[in-house]
């Protein structure tokens, strides 16, 4: 890495996570979300926690803020272990979390009011924060009268006015449209660089790679399998304001992307715990609908040679790369496409799938799903073996309960239902909560399933 030289990480340690693990009560026992995280936040740096959904980045942020307890390990603030909400942090929320019944001014004053600051002082401090963040003139407005961008400014003012040591940002820009987000990011970075920013450090949670590289001094990539761990850390020492078009910038984004999609920093595919045998537990289905993944396949098929750089594809579609990840993962899992060095290439089957008419594509999809999607295979083979060709969803829930939380199980079954229905392998009755074998399934299954 030419651009990555460790700098700045010299200030005092404000926040530290020491071997923090977090597990939630799953449907059947504890399920790990975070596995042994060590992280220090120093004075003067912006740290981005980057990961796909389910990588535990928001959970880690909330552990650092003292809002949820770690299952083991400890979180310290200025060397003191936390036993409740962290007194040195303030949070900015993805959904803004403003109180709609209070005016902008009243919303911004809340944190000071909680500290017992008198009405006069807090009004003055709030006006200053409102000025700083570019909200002057909106003091007496109610949040619902404001645009999304303005609302998030209130969110920032509310957090900054209490002058926390560390500002916690939980996906603060993802509910905003592209232009608004870009503008607000730029203004914040200007403030940060100018030294007027009343906090000593920032922790930013995001799933957007470019946003992380644009803002952070350090990008911490969290991986999700088998549970959240720090996969890689990138130091970004580019001068601000950073130019998205510059070669160095793109280089870092590419490197981060490779790690996000399961490869090491330089080169070959990460020795992902490649399971000896794919099982529903070791191979979760990506949350992609058939519509979504076949749509993507069809678009890629229109590119030359049935392949495209993911970044170009995202640009053409007006999406962020990470928005397409579930679909990309799904195509890869099903053997319909391969990802090589940031390039998405359809396989032979994939190309055929993209071009086929509805009936043929269903057949191809059924074969691929039975082969590569273990949960679809499991449901189909269970139904084939049962006398009536019917099985309650609860049966599959129980089978998955060792490995997933109940929300994850919902999502897994939802995807498996969608895929199986499209493949005409089985149907699902939402009232009786039963899977029923499709009449044609026998024809499709033949060699695949015992």
């Amino acid at each position: 890495m030419t651009t990555a030289t460790p700098t700045r990480r010299t200030g005092e340690v404000l926040l530290a996570a020491n071997n923090v693990t977090k597990s939630y009560a799953g449907a059947d026992g504890e399920l790990p979300v975070l596995g042994g995280i060590d992280l220090e936040i120093h004075e003067g740096e912006i740290v981005a926690l980057l990961g796909k959904s389910g990588s535990g980045k928001s959970t880690l942020l909330r552990c650092l803020a003292g809002l949820i307890p770690a299952s083991s390990g400890s979180v310290t603030y200025r060397g003191e272990e936390l036993h409740g909400a962290n007194p040195g942090t303030a949070m900015v929320f993805q959904t803004f979390a403003l109180l709609p019944w209070l005016t902008v001014q009243q919303n911004v004053e809340l944190g000071l009011e909680a500290k017992g600051v008198g009405p006069k002082e807090r009004a003055e401090a709030a006006v200053q924060a409102i000025d700083l963040i570019g909200l002057d003139g909106f003091e007496s407005a109610y949040p619902k009268e404001l645009s999304g961008g303005m609302r998030q400014r209130v969110g920032f003012a509310r957090a900054l006015v209490v002058e926390p040591d560390v500002l916690m940002m939980d996906e603060p820009f993802s509910a905003l449209d592209v232009l608004t987000a870009e503008n607000l990011r730029g203004e914040l970075m200007e403030l940060w660089e100018s030294g007027q920013f009343p906090t000593k450090a920032v922790v930013l949670v995001t799933h957007n790679i470019e946003e992380a590289v644009l803002m952070a001094d350090r990008v911490v990539v969290l991986g999700s399998r088998p549970y959240g761990t720090i996969r890689e850390t990138f130091d970004v020492s580019l001068v601000r304001p950073r130019d998205r078009q510059s070669a160095e910038f793109e280089q870092i984004v590419d490197a981060v992307y490779q790690v996000m999609t399961g490869r090491t920093k330089d080169g070959p595919k990460l020795t992902e715990p490649a399971p000896a045998r794919r099982t529903p537990a070791s191979t979760p289905l990506p949350a992609a609908s058939v519509d979504g993944l076949s749509g993507l396949a069809e678009i890629v098929a229109q590119y030359e040679g049935g392949a495209s750089e993911l970044a170009d594809l995202a640009d053409d579609l007006g999406l962020e790369v990470d928005d397409m990840l579930p679909q990309v993962d799904a195509l890869e899992l099903l053997g319909l496409a391969e990802v090589e060095g940031g390039e998405l290439r359809l396989t032979g089957t994939g190309a055929a799938f993209a071009r086929a008419d509805v009936q043929a594509s269903k057949k191809l999809f059924a074969e691929a799903a039975l082969e590569a999607a273990p949960l679809v295979h499991l449901i189909t083979s269970t139904l084939l073996r049962s006398a009536e060709g019917v099985q309650r969803a609860g049966f599959f829930r129980d089978l998955l309960a060792h490995h997933y939380t109940s929300e994850q199980i919902d999502r897994q079954l939802e995807t498996a239902t969608d895929w199986g229905r499209y493949a005409e392998l089985y149907a699902y009755n939402a009232d009786s909560e039963e899977y029923r074998l499709d009449e044609d399934a026998q024809l499709r299954v033949e060699p695949g399933v015992e």
Partner: protein, 572 residues
């Protein structure tokens, strides 16, 4: 409450300001005058009659209103304490919520005898005991519903708002005042309005009651009507009905309407709504300078209250809880709670056993079947009649605009006022009271079905209706595919309320008296009524317990299933 800041530019004092000030003064004076009557020293058992001169009606109406509002205040206080305890304590929640569910199903009127004797004993020689008994009856008809609603809004607080509170180090008081109360305000106010509407019925029933062969009467519209009915004077009954209608509509216009319009500010929504509640009265108040002035005057008070509220401590949860300690706490709590309940149950059974033997439950169980049959017939017939009417009204915005307030008033109008008219009709036509009392029960209960069906029909999106038109889906098919599934969730809500109301009404509907003639039907309601009159407490207890059992059973086995179906399948 947070201040209402008037957005109109500053002007000099206007006539609006004077009008508002005068109104407030007059209201205070009236409350004082009317309130004086409640503490008069008399033996309530001696108050044999009510002056049935119609000129007394305004005073009686004021006394009744005062009772209603005191009960409402008590319900709100109870709601805060009970719902908060249940939402905040994992252990208390396990007891309080099921208890609330049962309390909700207990027929309030059955309690009246027990509480009346209790309260009179508390304040011997004063009207206050009787007043409190009446207020308590109204309270029990309002509080459970409101508590449930507020508990639900406390427990369903969005996660980010909880995190805002803890992340910014709010005090517990700030959490309640700034976050929890405002986010529950709209539900609380609407629930309060509905409960208040239901309360009129119990006001009327509790103002004149006979327990253990004593007739107790409080000055009020209900007792006036009771006296007029006793005299068989239909003209005076008419005056009472008119007064009642004026009160119901007046309270709606002057109190609930402005309150619901004001509560719009607590809507947790992302954009300005197109359709908002409006109130002439609120607009009028907002045009005056008083809200702004009052706000400025109250600012230091608010600040002081906030400071005082700091004693409740910071809204924070310890990150680590010792599981062993928690377990021990759970066990201790569980043992104490179980022991208390077991002891109470044992004592109750012993009481019944000593007095009448446990066979006392047999008769009400059988009679309950008869009343159950009436409730079923009532709901079925009301459904067949009112669902089509409700759909018709709901599909026509013009009709709905006229009909909705009327139905609202009809629903809150205490049906027991109309009993004498019905009775007169029964006597004329010779209709058997065993069938006739179904009509009496329906007088109050049916409106909930109509009201909710209208709301459901209005909520069906017009593009669905257009799609059906486009596809030529008409007649029965249209009902089966669009209308019935569309109104189903609202209908179920109405049905639950109607069936609960019918059980309660059976206590006054199965025995009716008009001008010295008494008609008695066979049923659990009549059983409870008689036990009350004779002061036969073992029978009364058994009757109330069995009726609660029927109500809970019907809810669990029938309504709740429909409710789940409605939520899973038919939510739009």
């Amino acid at each position: 409450m947070t201040t209402i800041t008037s957005r109109t530019p500053r002007r000099g004092l206007t006539w609006v300001d004077f009008a508002v000030a005068a109104g407030v003064l007059v209201l205070g004076y009236l409350i004082l005058q009317v309130g004086k009557g409640t503490t008069v020293n008399v033996d309530p058992a001696d108050v044999s009659g009510v002056d049935t001169d119609p000129s007394q009606l305004p005073y009686y109406a004021a006394r009744s209103l005062l009772r209603m509002f005191v009960a409402l205040g008590a319900s709100v206080l109870f709601t805060f304490v009970y719902a908060y305890a249940a939402a905040r304590s994992r252990r208390l929640e396990r007891i309080l919520i099921p208890a609330l569910d049962i309390l909700q199903s207990v027929p309030v009127l059955g309690f009246l005898a027990i509480t009346t004797t209790g309260f009179i004993a508390l304040f011997p020689g004063s009207m206050l005991g009787l007043e409190l008994a009446s207020i308590f009856a109204i309270f029990t008809s309002q509080a459970w519903n409101m508590t449930f609603g507020f508990y639900a809004s406390l427990t369903s607080l969005p996660r980010e708002l909880d995190e805002v509170s803890r992340s910014f180090g709010f005090t517990r008081w700030m959490r309640f005042w700034r976050i929890e109360l405002p986010s529950g305000a709209i539900d609380l106010i609407w629930n309060g309005m509905m409960s208040f509407a239901g309360g009129w019925f119990f006001l009327v029933a509790s103002e004149a009651i006979s327990v253990a062969n004593h007739n107790y009467t409080l000055p009020g519209v209900g007792s006036y009507a009771g006296a007029a009915i006793g005299d068989g004077d239909l003209g005076k009954v008419g005056w009472a009905i008119l007064t009642m209608a004026v009160m119901v509509i007046g309270v709606n216009f002057l109190f609930w309407r402005p309150l619901t319009a004001w509560a719009e500010k607590f809507k947790n929504e992302q954009s300005e709504a197109t359709h908002v509640q409006r109130s002439l009265v609120l607009d009028f108040l907002r045009r005056s300078h008083w809200p702004a002035l009052l706000g400025r005057f109250l600012a230091p008070v608010r600040e002081a209250v906030n400071r005082a509220g700091r004693i409740f401590g910071r809204d924070d949860r310890p990150l680590s809880v010792d599981p062993a300690k928690r377990r021990v706490g759970d066990i201790v709590f569980g043992v104490i709670a179980t022991a208390l309940i077991a002891w109470g149950l044992f004592d109750l059974l012993r009481y019944l056993h000593d007095n009448t033997g446990l066979g006392v439950f047999g008769e009400p169980l059988v009679l309950g079947l008869v009343t159950l049959l009436r409730v079923v017939v009532l709901v079925a017939v009301a459904t067949v009649i009112w669902v089509p009417v409700g759909v018709k009204i709901g599909f026509s915005p013009r009709l709905a605009k006229i009909a909705q307030p009327i139905v609202q008033v009809l629903a809150s109008f205490p049906a027991n006022f109309l009993f004498p008219l019905a009775m007169w009709f029964f006597l004329r036509t010779g209709l058997d009271i065993n069938i006739g009392c179904i009509f009496l029960m329906a007088l109050g209960a049916q409106w909930y079905i109509l009201f909710n069906t209208i709301a459901g029909a209005m909520a069906i999106p017009s593009d669905l209706k257009e799609a059906m038109d486009d596809l030529g889906v008409q007649g029965w098919q249209r009902w089966k595919r669009l209308i019935i599934p569309g109104v189903f969730p609202s209908y179920v809500t109405g049905g639950i309320t109607a069936s609960g109301g019918a059980w309660n009404a059976s206590i006054v509907a199965e025995v009716v008296t008009f001008s010295g003639t008494t008609l008695t039907a066979t049923g659990l309601g009549a059983y409870i009524f008689k036990a009350t009159e004779e002061g036969d407490f073992p029978r009364l207890l058994a009757g109330v317990a069995v009726m609660s059992l029927y109500v809970v059973g019907l809810n669990r086995l029938f309504w709740r299933r429909l409710y789940r179906l409605a939520e899973n399948r038919y939510s739009l």
